[in-house]
């Protein structure tokens, strides 16, 4: 649920609208009203600071967080390939984002995709503004562009884990650029684009498809995790298993790196979830505490399951559980209450555990680092869980009805909301699953997706990058 500004029209009435939203001030300020009505809203310095800080935190999730998390899990000979892939995806995604990503995601177009009116950031400068979730509260538009840019940077990086140790660098870079354009931007538009709280009443229908259905996704459970998770599954099926999969041991080369990476992900995720409120206020703190406790609960429940089933609690289990918890709480972070978030965390780990241990082995696909089992499955649990936990009857925040001015809390229908959530999950799975399959096919037939068997045996570090991770 991330709004976009639609500034230009309607600014004149904005000051007056702000005052309606704050009746206590209205009388005192009545004399100044005429003057204020003509003024451009001034972004809050606290909000701006928080959004820029959050953007840095989310970038830290990708580099070095995600890169180390994944890198530690592969064999020594492929360490650098994973680090390079994640690092360069971030760079390419950043450039594409300011090129056409921001415009396609966050300008008015049709329910599926935005337009090109802000391609290459035309019309965006240091004075333009982006809407938040509150009437009359604005951010500098650049702050919004930057924050959303970090999401576009990390999401294609998540996919890498599904086919780590057996993908061609050039093919992957081309795939990532195409995937952002054809899959990520449309889904971001469908879920997050809307005209903003001050404009929706006057421009009904100006929003993305899933936003219009009322799907709740606070920080990107569908856009980021389900989206990347299903793309990863499609990728690992199309690229095929690693040479020697199931016959040779392929243990993680450094769980120390994995622990460092997972911890950076956790810390950075506060920017991801609490930052998604776009303002620094009470709901930001709600998202923050939910992100904290759901993660702790999920790490604990994963370890308990391991203790019972395998007899030993493992570090990899603890950090995998933590990531599953972070994924699950992402869509719910600003909607649930802390006790609800704990339950979500406790529930998500056993389900993901079942997928990465039993179901993956039964079906025999080689999702190297469990992108599908953790991100897609965890994301689906989170998306559906959000429909339940957002209910004010369970202490949740409910949702705001922005069709009236000022926005009010809408009447909550849990069953209806859960069905909407399931529909949103279905649209994401289909759009990303089919779109990714087509793109993998195209890349495979052009640049190629899989390195030669010789290169794969030797290790992608030397074969593709001409370096080793460790020289001693």
């Amino acid at each position: 649920m991330k709004p976009l500004m639609k500034l230009g029209a309607g600014l004149g009435t904005l000051g007056a609208l702000t005052l309606t939203a704050m009746p206590a001030w209205a009388q005192e300020a009545a004399a100044a009203a005429t003057e204020a009505a003509a003024a451009v809203p001034v972004p809050d310095k606290g909000d701006t600071t928080w959004m820029l800080t959050s953007s840095v935190l989310v970038l830290m999730m990708a580099v070095p967080g995600l890169a180390l998390f994944y890198g530690g899990l592969v064999r020594t000979k492929n360490m650098l390939s994973v680090l390079t892939q994640v690092f360069m995806i971030v760079c390419i995604a950043a450039l594409i984002w300011v090129g056409w990503g921001y415009s396609l995601s966050f300008t008015s177009g049709n329910p599926f995709i935005g337009g090109l009116s802000k391609a290459f950031l035309q019309g965006v400068d240091g004075t333009t503004l982006a809407a938040t979730f509150s009437n009359g509260v604005y951010l500098p538009e650049y702050a919004f562009v930057i924050f959303q840019m970090t999401f576009a940077c990390i999401t294609p990086g998540l996919i890498v884990g599904a086919f780590a140790e057996r993908v061609k660098f050039s093919g992957l870079m081309l795939f990532s650029a195409l995937w952002l354009t054809v899959v990520y931007f449309p889904i971001a538009h469908m879920v997050w684009y809307w005209a903003g709280p001050d404009f929706l009443p006057t421009t009904p229908g100006d929003y993305g498809l899933l936003w219009g259905w009322g799907a709740l996704d606070f920080a990107g459970g569908t856009v980021v995790h389900i989206n990347a998770g299903i793309a990863g599954l499609v990728g690992c099926l199309m690229i095929g298993k690693r040479i020697g999969f199931g016959k040779e041991p392929m243990p993680p080369h450094s769980l120390v790196m994995t622990m460092i990476g997972a911890s950076l992900l956790w810390v950075g995720w506060f920017g991801f979830n609490a930052g998604s409120n776009l303002e620094a206020n009470g709901v930001t703190a709600v998202a923050f505490i939910n992100t904290f406790v759901a993660t702790a609960a999920a790490a604990l429940s994963w370890l308990l399951v391991e203790q019972v089933i395998k007899g030993k609690p493992s570090l990899l289990g603890a950090v995998t559980g933590a990531v599953a918890g972070l994924v699950a709480v992402t869509p719910a972070s600003g909607f649930a209450a802390p006790m609800g978030a704990i339950i979500l965390g406790l529930v998500v780990s056993p389900v993901c555990f079942l997928f990465v241990t039993t179901i993956k082995n039964k079906l025999g696909y080689d999702d190297s680092l469990d992108v599908f089992g953790v991100h897609c499955i965890g994301g689906i649990i989170g998306a559906i869980g959000t429909g339940i936990l957002a209910d004010p009857a369970l202490g949740g925040q409910g949702f705001f009805d922005y069709t009236v001015m000022p926005a009010v809390v809408g009447t909550y229908d849990m069953a209806g909301q859960v069905i909407t959530q399931i529909k949103a999950v279905g649209v994401t799975l289909l759009w990303s699953g089919i779109g990714s399959a087509i793109l993998f096919f195209i890349v495979d037939k052009t640049l190629g997706l899989r390195p030669s068997a010789e290169a794969e045996r030797e290790g992608l570090d030397l074969a593709e990058h001409g370096e080793r991770a460790y020289n001693y």
Partner: protein, 112 residues
């Protein structure tokens, strides 16, 4: 002269070294090795993937000694490396034909 080769548990190295020094053994060569015997390997589980490592890390000690000291060297290693548990290792004794100290050119027992 005899070459005594002992495969022992890594954490027993210091004890064995001290015990042999006490006997007057003036040098040894130590190598980190992997192998298996009755101890078999261990199982490692990473998320769902189970790997049985069938090689166990050990330390290999090589000591060349005079014929009359050889039995006591073997006995000392056997006692100092012993834990009583499976996987304590093995000792092999071989005959040595010749020995030369590179610095001085001394040969055989004077080279030890």
């Amino acid at each position: 002269m005899k070459l005594v080769i002992a495969i022992i548990k890594p954490f027993k190295l210091d004890e064995v070294r001290d015990a042999l020094s006490g006997l007057g053994v003036a040098g040894m060569t130590v190598t980190e090795v992997k192998g298996f015997g009755r101890q078999k390997g261990q199982t490692e589980i990473y998320r769902g993937a189970e790997y049985s490592t069938n090689m166990v890390p050990k330390i290999k000690i090589e000591v060349v000694t005079t014929n009359d000291l050889a039995d006591r060297v073997v006995e000392t290693i056997q006692q100092s490396a012993n834990t009583g548990a499976i996987g304590d290792g093995k000792i092999f004794v071989l005959d040595v034909g010749q020995a030369v100290r590179i610095r001085t050119g001394e040969t055989d027992e004077t080279a030890l």
